[in-house]
């Protein structure tokens, strides 16, 4: 794939992203899903978050395995009390930076 023009690779990614975005707006078969499936759907974002964080927040910072972990704990706590995503992200980067330096 690396021999293909990057431009094309970007467009392929866009098409692959847009297919699931557009289908529900133009086809209606998805409307008649049972309540249980709807319940599953409503839990998908939370379920996605777990898998998006682990294990890569550990792996990305190896050999300092706890650097990313401390960062996300900081983000969680700061956002819980302050409800500011930007603040929690900035503090998270600082905590991770310190953990990587120490």
């Amino acid at each position: 794939m690396k021999s293909l023009p990057l431009f094309l690779i970007v467009i392929v990614a866009s098409v692959a992203t847009m297919i699931p975005r557009f289908i529900p707006f133009y086809l209606s078969f998805l409307n008649k899903v049972p309540p249980f499936i709807k319940k599953c759907m409503s839990l998908l974002p939370v379920a996605a978050i777990g898998a998006l964080i682990f294990p890569f927040t550990i792996l990305d910072f190896l050999p300092v395995w706890y650097a990313g972990l401390l960062g996300i704990i900081a983000a969680f706590v700061v956002n819980y009390y302050k409800q500011s995503m930007l603040l929690s992200i900035v503090i998270s980067v600082i905590v991770t930076y310190i953990a990587l330096l120490v």
């Binding site: 794939m1 690396k2 293909l4 990057l6 690779i9 970007v10 467009i11 392929v12 990614a13 692959a16 992203t17 847009m18 297919i19 699931p20 975005r21 557009f22 289908i23 529900p24 707006f25 998805l30 409307n31 899903v33 249980f36 709807k38 319940k39 599953c40 759907m41 409503s42 839990l43 998908l44 974002p45 939370v46 379920a47 978050i49 777990g50 898998a51 998006l52 964080i53 682990f54 294990p55 890569f56 990305d60 650097a67 990313g68 960062g71 996300i72 900081a74 983000a75 969680f76 956002n79 819980y80 409800q83 995503m85 930007l86 998270s92 980067v93 600082i94 991770t96 930076y97 990587l100």
Partner: protein, 234 residues
């Protein structure tokens, strides 16, 4: 309350999108940095964000690209990663004002991301106006694309250690989102996310699954199990 044009103005949408703008901006900085680190030029990095507007999906996509996946695997992988948009689209569509069609519908469909969907759903309206959605998408889109460009340029001046630390922004953003969900819905949110984290870690670390497949399996199975065991409310 119900007007023809639907609930909420462009201005309200734009304002509701500001927290997303900030979160996206800092996350996209990480995306721009990573693009530069794996050798994607400035123009293509910006084009990636302009045409995909996919948050975490883009990180997974460039991961697949950098790991040398075949074009077909890459295409299927990105589709699966973004499968959740199917369900978000179904839910969002039923909340939209009836006059959202034609080019308006194209714009709303283009702008379905996790955060935009979540914010729009939290308005608890079944008559959301196009203007509101357009405002929400505009501020988020500005954050995502300006962040990508600035992140790429920051990569040229930031010290290496700080660049590495900036890699935590994506996870920090998810962690903050989880904290909001936890505050609103209680401990079951942490159970579901923890379960999904455990399955994903097991699949990747123990069974060496490719990250795209592992992500989809973890997400779908945890949502399924969560729905089985949590029958109360909603």
């Amino acid at each position: 309350m119900k007007k023809n044009v639907g609930d909420f103005s462009y201005r309200e949408g734009f304002q509701d999108g500001i927290p997303i703008l900030l979160g996206y901006f800092s996350t996209a900085i990480a995306f721009g940095l990573i693009c530069r680190n794996i050798g994607i030029p400035f123009f293509e990095s910006c084009l990636y964000s302009l045409t995909n507007f996919a948050g975490a999906g883009q990180f997974l996509a460039i991961n697949l690209f950098a790991s040398g996946a075949l074009l077909f695997e890459y295409f299927i992988g990105i589709n699966l990663i973004n499968l959740r948009y199917l369900f978000m689209g179904v839910a969002l569509r039923t909340n939209l004002s009836k006059d959202v069609k034609g080019i308006k519908k194209v714009i709303v469909a283009f702008g379905v991301t996790d955060e935009i969907f979540t914010v729009a759903s939290m308005k608890n309206s079944d008559n959301l106006s196009f203007n509101y959605m357009a405002g929400l998408i505009t501020s988020s889109y500005i954050g995502w694309n300006s962040g990508t460009a600035i992140g790429f340029m920051m990569g040229m001046i930031l010290p290496k250690a700080l660049q590495m630390a900036a890699g935590v922004t994506l996870y920090a953003m998810f962690s903050s989102l989880l904290s909001v969900e936890f505050k609103n819905k209680g401990a079951k949110v942490l159970l579901i996310a923890g379960f999904s984290a455990a399955i994903n870690s097991f699949l990747i670390l123990v069974l060496s699954f490719p990250s795209g497949w592992s992500f989809v399996i973890s997400m779908v199975s945890s949502a399924f199990i969560g729905a089985l065991f949590m029958k109360e409310e909603n």
